[in-house]
Symmetry: C2
DNA sequence: AGGGATTGACGAACAGTGTTCGTGAACGGA
DNA sequence: TCCGTTCACGAACACTGTTCGTCAATCCCT
């Protein structure tokens, strides 16, 4: 499935980095060699590169995905990749965009638009979780690629179904995607640590870490940190899911409130 | 000014990495050599290392802060740093914590607690902005160092002044610091790109980029992206400040709402 | 005061990283 | 059939974080 379409091409194929800020858009796939049998080795393409990057990421984590590792998996050298991808940053954006395409876009229902937005957020987080570390590339993206545009369009539709102002809807989409990206990044860093600790030997008991932190908070001197020590339990209660759901409630309540009060 | 205090020491100094997840706490400064005149070259210390890291970061950006660069600025080799700092990740945490110590903690006033929280968030963002890229290390921190604890304590105090539930207050602090960290990271990535573009020649006109993106959104096919193309103006309106203020309003309205409805 | 042990400093090296250059071969169009 | 474009790729460059082994300076103890 080709991502390319002349509609999305702002810059011409000769130069990946036309704009001063390197805002990149997917290139048209190399048009020639449409039919006929392939050569001995299957041709390299953006799709194949992104595919193997995703595979590696899913099985070995973000840090294992280097240009060399991708090239090796494709049985070639790292230099070959640069004919199809501008650089690693560009590849990361393509990877993220491909992931974004996985999340389903619901048909807006004015009666439960907020629940639908929450579900989209949950789905997005779930998609990121499949590829630990990919989210690190999300945060600096202006949605110009297909996947991000699709998400933005879906989110905007839900916001409008909820009767939000245009301005609130637009900024809220920004805020929501920034937040879900941040959560994914945070989780991926912890996952990476657990992975590293696992490689180094000792198993990691998550509950044990939580208990340790709680005990530490409680042990703090009450004269300097009265609240942290007193609220140690509240601060260490709940797993990632609980906190995520809490944040979703806060964000959606807030969006409604701000939209109403203008 | 020493950060160390036996209160904060969970692990003993012999090993930086005791816990399976490498949750590190500042070590007690080397106690020996309390008085007497120094040798020819001033002794290395955690403080001096963090100081030069901050200097480098402020003047040349995060990517310029490598162990080698820090060592060079201190007129020594990279290996010398590892006697005082476990690794780069640890150093990053110390740097972030030092930055966090710069933000002022207000005296809680129940009449304007929400405005006080907003101000703390603004101050935190401003502090991060001084050191582009430092925020990249924030996101995976459990507040166990002095600076982070101080912030958490201040935030909790303001939340309690606003009458929030313990649970809401605790989770909200988490959410708020995650968000402000995410904004700082996002900005730093853009700043890095601008920096890189500047190094490569062409000046970057921010307004021009915005105009370009807006034009691109408007040019999208209305049958596939009706909302994005129609709301192009709303989506590209407002600078970072406007969006940040919007997010603060959303977050605080949401916190109030969630706390009231239980 | 002298000797031994501790400990910070540090040069060199290792295993990686992203990226570029120049060569060589395969292919489509004329 | 030949030309010129286009992709593949080996080698190398300039980095990165980190570790090892050594050296000299310092403190403590006798």
């Amino acid at each position: 499935m080709f991502v390319s379409s002349t509609v999305f091409v702002m810059e011409q194929s000769k130069s990946f980095r036309a704009g001063p800020l390197n805002i990149r858009v997917t290139l048209p796939a190399p048009g020639w060699r449409t039919g006929a049998a392939g050569p001995q080795r299957e041709r390299l393409s953006v799709e194949r590169i992104v595919d193997t990057a995703l595979d590696l990421m899913r099985s070995k984590g973000y840090d294992a995905v280097s240009m060399r590792a991708i090239a090796k998996a494709l049985e070639t050298g790292p230099a070959s990749l640069y004919a199809h991808v501008a650089n690693k940053e560009h590849l990361d954006q393509l990877v993220v965009d491909r992931i974004a395409q996985q999340v389903p876009i619901p048909e807006p229902d004015p009666d439960r638009w907020d629940e639908q937005i929450k579900q989209m957020m949950r789905d997005t987080l779930a998609a990121y979780r499949q590829y630990p570390g990919a989210a690190r590339a999300t945060m600096a993206i202006i949605p110009t690629e297909l996947g991000a545009l699709r998400s933005a369009e879906g989110m905007l539709a839900l916001c409008k179904a909820g009767g939000l102002t245009d301005q609130v809807a637009a900024w809220a989409c920004d805020l929501l995607s920034l937040y879900v990206g941040a959560v994914a990044v945070e989780e991926s860093i912890w996952a990476e640590r657990t992975r590293a600790a696992g490689r180094a030997g000792a198993e990691v008991d998550e509950q044990l870490v939580v208990d340790q932190v709680r005990a530490y908070f409680e042990s703090l001197p009450a004269d300097r940190f009265p609240l942290v020590s007193a609220m140690a339990v509240a601060m260490t209660t709940g797993d990632g899911e609980d906190r995520f759901e809490f944040a979703l409630s806060v964000l959606l309540s807030g969006m409604r409130a701000v939209s109403e009060q203008g």
